[in-house]
Symmetry: C2
Subunit: 104 residues, 2 copies
């Protein structure tokens, strides 16, 4: 579908992408963490896109199996949600992923 | 207002009350923590009450100054949100608050 192609292009052309919701604390946490590590994530706030928001969320579920936010991509790869990202950071792997994706 | 009276009665008659949203991870975290500490919170899921949900959320804001979820009450007292509750737990104060409340 066209929306699916849009998502694929977005995550390929942008080193760090976060699909988020403005009111969601888990989404805020992951955005704050990534910015703290010096990267400028492309943030897509699904609650600010009118009817396209839920559509995008469905496409993301089809592509990643994940229907929740935040939904994080680094270097075109699906990372996961907030807990997954924090886990990677605790293992010391997040920063290297970010530099590989040349997001810093 | 009648809704305000309902809230006041709810938090007075129930030792632990959590105003929550079913999809919210911060709400889940606080519910899990309280249950892990052996208490049976009364949980009110604001997203499952139709139009009354947003109304309740407004009343809670009037009563507590807090417009977010989760909104936690112990022994009739406003505790705060997820981070506030976790903070109390880390200081070792949550469990004593809980036992005091169930002794009332
Ligand atoms: N463990 C996941 C939890 C993700 C989750 O449950 N997200 C919630 C919001 S906090 C969600 O997407 N709920 C459904 C929705 O908002 O559409 C993570 O760390 O990201
Ligand atoms: N620090 C607060 C954050 C509370 C917060 O921002 N809650 C969000 C959901 S995670 C919220 O209520 N957003 C507005 C809404 O859902 O109406 C806490 O720990 O509870
Ligand atoms: S909506 Fe509350 S943590 Fe995501």
């Amino acid at each position: 579908s066209r929306l699916e192609e849009t998502v694929k292009t977005t995550i390929t052309e942008n080193p760090v992408v976060v699909y988020s919701k403005t009111w969601c604390s888990y989404s805020s946490e992951v955005k704050t963490l990534l910015k703290k590590l010096g990267c400028e994530p492309l943030v897509i706030e699904l609650d600010q896109l009118g009817p396209q928001g839920p559509q995008l969320q469905k496409v993301l579920e089809r592509l990643t199996g994940q229907h929740t936010v935040p939904n994080v991509f680094i270097g075109g790869e699906h990372i996961g949600g907030c807990t997954d990202t924090v886990k990677l950071h605790r293992r010391g792997e997040l920063e290297s992923l970010l530099s590989e994706a040349s997001a810093k």
